[in-house]
C-alpha cells in the first residue's frame, strides 16, 4: 500500500527540484512567502502539543506564563501516576484496547476475506451495510446501547465497554482489510491449491502472512479508537472510578473552582504519546488504506 505512494512522491520531487533551482534566483519574494507559510503552518500544527508538554513539565503551570518551563519538574507526572490514580486508568485502557484489537481484528479478517475473495449473493448489500453503519453517530447509539448494556448487567464494567468497542471498530476494520486481502495475488492461492493444500491450510500459510502488514495497521487503528473513545466510557462506566479509562479519568483533575492544569497536561501527554507513536508508525499505510477504501471500494 505504501510503495506506490512513495514512488509517486519520488518521481515528482525530481522534476520539482530541477525546476526550482533556476526559479530560486528569480523568485525571491515567492521563496520568502513560502518560508513564512511553512513557519506559520509548523507553529499552528505543533503549538498545542508543545504547549501541553511545556505545561506538563512546569511546576508553575498556571501561576505564570512562560514559553519554556519556568520551573522544570517531573512532579506533575509523578503526582498523576501515583496519587492521581492514573496508573489504574492506564491499565484499564490498555486492557480494553488490547481486547478490542484482538477480537475485532479477528472478526474483521474473516469477514474481509469473505467479501474480497468470494462472489456471492447479497455481497454488495453486505458491503453497503458495513459502509452505512460507519456513518451512524455515536451519540445516537449511546442511548439504546446504554439500555442494552444495562439489561445485560454490564454497566460500570470494562467487559461492557469492550463489547461496544468491538462493534465500533469492526466496520472500519472490514472496510480497510478487504483492500489488503484483495491486493494478495490470487495466483498464489491457486498455486497452494495445486500443491494440494486445503482452504484452511492456504489461509494460514499464504493469505495470513501476506495480509499481516494490513492486519497490523488495522489493529493499531482499532487500538486508537478504543484508547481515545469518550462518550461510551463516560456513559457506561458511570460512577465506577476504579474502572475509568484514560479518556474520562482526565476529568478527575478538574476541580470545583480551579483546575490543576499542570496535572491535566501531564496526564494528557501520557495519553497522547502512545497514539502519536502508533500514528507515525502506520500513517502512510493508513492514509493509503483510507483513500483506497474510500474511492476504490
Amino acid at each position: 500500500m505504501s510503495a506506490p505512494t512513495t514512488s509517486a512522491a519520488r518521481a515528482s520531487t525530481r522534476p520539482a527540484a530541477a525546476s526550482r533551482r533556476p526559479a530560486r534566483r528569480a523568485l525571491r519574494p515567492g521563496q520568502v512567502g513560502k518560508g513564512l507559510a511553512v513557519a506559520g503552518l509548523l507553529f499552528f500544527t505543533l503549538f498545542p502539543a508543545y504547549w501541553m508538554l511545556v505545561s506538563a513539565l512546569d511546576a508553575k503551570a498556571g501561576a505564570s506564563t512562560s514559553f519554556v518551563p519556568a520551573d522544570f519538574t517531573l512532579d506533575n507526572f509523578r503526582f498523576v501516576l501515583t496519587d492521581g490514580g492514573f496508573a489504574t486508568f492506564l491499565r484499564n485502557s490498555l486492557l480494553v484496547a488490547l481486547a478490542t484489537v484482538l477480537v475485532s481484528s479477528f472478526l474483521a479478517l474473516l469477514a474481509s476475506v469473505a467479501v474480497a475473495r468470494f462472489r456471492f449473493r447479497l455481497r454488495t448489500q453486505v458491503l453497503l451495510l458495513v459502509l452505512v453503519v460507519q456513518m451512524v453517530p455515536l451519540e445516537a447509539l449511546v442511548i439504546p446501547l446504554f439500555v442494552q448494556v444495562r439489561d445485560l448487567g454490564l454497566l460500570g464494567q470494562l467487559s461492557g465497554l469492550i463489547v461496544v468497542y468491538v462493534a465500533l471498530a469492526l466496520p472500519f476494520g472490514i472496510w480497510m482489510l478487504r483492500g489488503f486481502v484483495a491486493a494478495v495475488p490470487v495466483e498464489l492461492e491457486e498455486a497452494a491449491y495445486l500443491d494440494g493444500a486445503s482452504w484452511g491450510r492456504m489461509f494460514r500459510s499464504i493469505l495470513l502472512p501476506l495480509v499481516a502488514p494490513g492486519l497490523v495497521a488495522t489493529s493499531i487503528f482499532s487500538f486508537i479508537t478504543a484508547w481515545n473513545e469518550f462518550v461510551f466510557a463516560l456513559t457506561l462506566l458511570g460512577g465506577e472510578e476504579q474502572n475509568y479509562t484514560v479518556a474520562i479519568g482526565l476529568r478527575s483533575f478538574f476541580g470545583q473552582h480551579s483546575n490543576d492544569w499542570g496535572s491535566i497536561m501531564a496526564a494528557s501527554t501520557i495519553i497522547t504519546v502512545p497514539v502519536m507513536v502508533f500514528f507515525i508508525l502506520v500513517q502512510r499505510r493508513l492514509a493509503g488504506g483510507l483513500t483506497a477504501g474510500a474511492v476504490k471500494g
Partner: protein, 323 residues
C-alpha cells in the same frame, strides 16, 4: 489518486476470485457456504450491537421513555409527541440547528480549503522540508480529540490561559476575557480545534491526488499561457474532482457529529444552553434529564441528516465503479 488506485486494483483481479469461488462451490457444500461462515461472526456483532440498537432508538423515540421505563422495561407509547416537541421547540430553531448545520458548513469549508492549501504547499516543497512539515501535520492528526480539546481549553482559559496573557502583554485588551461564555467565540474555538484536527486528512489525501496529476497537462496549460491560479483551478481541480468529493463528504459526516469537542468545553455539557448542538442536546436531554425518549427523537433527526449525506457518499463511490 491514481497513485493509490493502482494499489488495490480490485477491478483487475475482480473476476478471478469469483472463478476460485466458483470452482470451490462445485467441490463441496462447505465451500459454497464458506463466505457466509466467514461473515457470520462479524454480521452477528453488527446486528446485535449496531442494527438492533438503531431500531430500538427509533422505538424509544415514539415513547415517553424515562427512568421508570428503563427499570420496568415497559413500553409507554406516545406517538410522534417527542418529534413535535423537538421540531417546534424554539431551542432547535434558534440554537441547535444553526450550531449544527452552519457550524458543519463553516468547518467543512475551512478544513477543505486549508487542507488543500497545505497540500499545494507540500507538493511544492523539497524532500527534506516535505518530511518535516508532513511529520508535524501527523502530530496534529494524532492528537486525541479529548486531550486536544483540553489543550485548547487551557490555551484560551479565562484566568491563566496563554491567549489572554499574550493579548494583554501586547496591550490589545485590558482585562482577561472569558471566551467560553459567548456563543460565537465558543464556536470559534471549536472551529479552530476541528480544523486543527481535521485538515491533515484533507492535506494528505489531496497531496496524493496532486502527485497523480499528469505533468503534461500542466505543461500544456502553461504553454497556452495559463497562470498558476488558472492552471490550479482549470486543470488540477477538475482532475481531482473525485478526491474532493470524498474529502468533502467525509468531512461533512465528521463535522455534523462533533461531540467531545463541544461537550468538554466549559459550559458545553449543557449548562450553557446557547452552545448546544444536535448531538450534545440529545445526550444532555437523555442522560442529564432522564428523557431518553425525547433524546432518542433528537438522535433520530441527527441520524436522518447524516444518512442523507451518506446516500450522496455511497452514490459517489458507486458511480466510480462496482464495489
Amino acid at each position: 489518486m491514481s497513485s493509490t488506485t493502482t494499489v488495490t486494483a480490485p477491478t483487475g483481479s475482480g473476476h478471478q476470485p469469483g472463478s476460485v469461488g466458483g470452482r470451490l462451490a462445485r467441490k463441496s457444500v462447505l465451500a459454497r457456504w464458506r463466505p457466509w461462515l466467514l461473515l457470520a461472526p462479524a454480521l452477528l456483532v453488527l446486528a446485535v450491537l449496531l442494527l438492533w440498537p438503531l431500531i430500538r432508538m427509533g422505538m424509544f423515540s415514539l415513547q415517553d421513555y424515562g427512568l421508570p421505563e428503563i427499570v420496568s422495561g415497559e413500553a409507554n407509547w406516545i406517538g410522534l409527541g417527542n418529534y413535535t416537541e423537538a421540531l417546534t421547540s424554539e431551542q432547535l430553531r434558534t440554537v441547535v440547528l444553526p450550531n449544527t448545520v452552519l457550524f458543519a458548513i463553516a468547518s467543512v469549508v475551512c478544513t477543505v480549503v486549508f487542507g488543500t492549501a497545505v497540500a499545494v504547499l507540500l507538493a511544492s516543497l523539497g524532500r527534506v522540508w516535505r518530511v518535516i512539515v508532513s511529520s508535524s501535520i501527523m502530530a496534529a492528526w494524532a492528537m486525541p480529540a479529548v486531550t486536544g480539546t483540553y489543550v485548547w481549553v487551557w490555551i484560551f482559559d479565562a484566568d491563566r490561559g496563554v491567549f489572554n496573557h499574550v493579548l494583554q502583554s501586547l496591550g490589545l485588551q485590558d482585562q482577561p476575557v472569558n471566551w467560553f461564555t459567548d456563543r460565537w467565540s465558543f464556536y470559534a474555538i471549536v472551529l479552530l480545534n476541528i480544523v486543527h484536527h481535521g485538515f491533515p486528512f484533507v492535506a494528505v489525501t489531496v497531496l496524493a491526488g496532486l502527485l497523480g496529476v499528469p505533468k503534461e497537462l500542466l505543461e500544456a496549460a502553461e504553454i497556452d499561457g495559463a497562470g498558476p491560479w488558472r492552471r490550479f483551478f482549470s486543470v488540477t481541480v477538475p482532475q481531482l474532482r473525485q478526491v474532493f468529493a470524498v474529502v468533502v463528504i467525509l468531512s461533512t459526516i465528521w463535522d455534523f457529529k462533533v461531540f467531545a469537542q463541544v461537550y468538554l468545553m466549559p459550559g458545553g455539557a449543557g449548562s450553557n444552553r446557547e452552545v448546544l448542538n444536535l448531538g450534545v442536546w440529545s445526550y444532555v436531554e437523555s442522560f442529564g434529564q432522564n428523557r431518553y425518549g425525547f433524546g432518542s427523537a433528537i438522535a433520530v433527526l441527527l441520524t436522518v441528516l447524516l444518512l442523507l449525506v451518506t446516500v450522496v457518499y455511497v452514490r459517489t463511490i458507486l458511480k466510480e465503479e462496482e464495489l
